[in-house]
């Protein structure tokens, strides 16, 4: 559904949450994707995975709930929900790499038309490299969705023909949710599912990727 105004971060998160099928196992990446949890409904019965060894992760812990032995991938104290399970790191990444998670939602520096993802390194020569679980998350789940701003501060599109940043995973992203549009990526190229505060013509002028439209 198109809208006249760009989406807020919470509106983007709500769109992502609404697209997650009931009963899914989902990993939400650090940063903006964690907002998706706020918009999942109990009826969806979504089970959240955290890479450091837990299924059934609950909301952030506060006050007396804080337990140093119960944290998420961002090392933030969290809670456990009834039916939660703990497991070691090899099992955690095995369930990721083995395609057992339905959806993984990640942030990105850039996504290419072919679904290549860059989100682990800016490639700056003086930066200390750190990758964490980014490369495993990118290629592991049945579907990898990205939440990001479509444009940089300088107005350049982050949806590109070829990545300018170091690769996290090749051909792994199937959807990109942004404030200005939602894109579906597949073998047939990139199509625009909805636009927000921008016309298709403007979008085509600013995004250097061939954009098809989806007939409603």
């Amino acid at each position: 559904m198109n809208s006249a105004a760009p989406l807020t971060k919470h509106q983007i998160a709500a769109l992502v949450a609404a697209d997650i099928e009931a009963g899914s196992f989902v990993n939400l990446g650090i940063g903006q994707p964690t907002l998706v949890a706020d918009h999942l409904t109990p009826e969806q019965d979504v089970t959240l995975h955290t890479e450091n060894g837990m299924l059934g992760m609950g909301p952030a812990a506060h006050g007396d709930e804080v337990d140093p032995d119960l944290i998420n991938a961002g090392k933030i104290p969290v809670t456990e929900l009834p039916g939660a399970a703990y497991f070691h790191h090899a099992d955690s990444f095995g369930m990721m790499r083995g395609g057992h998670l339905d959806v993984c939602v990640l942030g990105a520096f850039q996504v290419s038309a072919a679904g290549d993802l860059a989100n682990w390194s800016t490639g700056a020569p003086d930066a200390i490299p750190a990758v964490g679980g980014a490369m495993d998350l990118a290629i592991g789940a049945k579907q990898t969705w990205v939440m990001m701003s479509l444009f940089t501060k300088d107005g350049a599109s982050k949806l590109v023909e070829t990545l300018a940043y170091p690769v996290t995973g090749l051909g792994c992203v199937t959807r990109v949710y942004t404030e200005s549009a939602v894109f579906l990526l597949g073998p047939g190229g990139v199509s625009v599912r909805s636009t927000h505060g921008i016309t298709l013509e403007e979008l085509r002028a600013r995004v250097p990727v061939a954009l098809a439209t989806i007939e409603a």
Partner: protein, 233 residues
């Protein structure tokens, strides 16, 4: 053989040779065997290769080992954090070698070493800088990178409880790397809150069987409230 039960972390890590490869459990501070690391710091071994998910936080534990330049090389997935200043300084000074490994590959390399697997093909990292120079293969249309097993001379891990046979149970997300590191080291040292008599742990709940544990040391967990000291099976 039943594990050796020692009375202090210092006794547990005594005799560790310079140049050893040391696995240290934990993800951030959860599951980090802080007292064993402190003992390592006081013990004086240097030129160490350390395997850990991170490269130390703030002014404690692994961060202090790095500050004291006792770590020649670190194998980890996520060294850079807001409070990793000791690693950052050592790295920028060229005084520590970094082998950066995607987290799942790190875990699987450790698991492989403990399971007698020499190397394996993984899709993680294919086509990235972290796979440069590594052997690749296409299997059933999927591209993979060859990653080698990662073993250690000693593993320092933290569990909740042990029994006198060395069987271990963990607590919540503090389990993380403990069970796999226990399998991948020539000598595994576990610090636990309690060492219980044989028969106290339900065999169905044991996570790390005692065959993988060589040394046990009891460390009081003053930081953990009694209400939270329930067993996590």
């Amino acid at each position: 053989m039943a594990p050796r039960i020692v009375s202090s972390p210092a006794e547990a890590v005594a005799g560790l040779a310079d140049g050893s490869t040391v696995m240290i459990g934990g993800f951030g501070n959860a599951g980090q065997p802080m007292e064993l690391i402190d003992a390592l710091l006081q013990g004086g071994a240097s030129g160490l290769t350390v395997v850990n998910n991170n490269a130390g936080q703030a002014d404690e534990g692994l961060a202090l080992l790095i500050k004291e330049r006792r770590v020649a090389k670190i194998v980890c997935s996520f060294p850079r954090q807001s409070d990793s200043w000791h690693f950052d300084a050592a790295y920028r000074a060229g005084e520590i070698e970094l082998e950066l490994v995607p987290q799942g590959n790190l875990a699987e390399r450790i698991r492989a070493a403990g399971a007698g697997i020499g190397a394996f093909f993984t899709p993680t990292g294919y086509g990235t800088q972290l796979a440069q120079g590594k052997e690749t293969r296409t299997i059933d249309g999927v591209n993979y990178v060859l990653e080698h097993a990662l073993k250690a001379d000693v593993a320092l891990i933290k569990a909740l409880h042990a029994d006198e046979k060395g069987n271990l149970v963990y607590r919540k997300t503090a389990r993380n790397f403990g069970p796999i590191m226990a399998t991948a080291a020539a000598r595994t040292i576990a610090q636990v809150q309690e060492i219980l008599p044989v028969g106290s742990l339900d065999p169905e709940h044991v996570v790390t069987p005692g065959i993988f544990v060589d040394t046990l040391v009891r460390v009081d967990a003053a930081a953990t409230p009694v209400s939270q000291q329930k067993e996590s099976a």
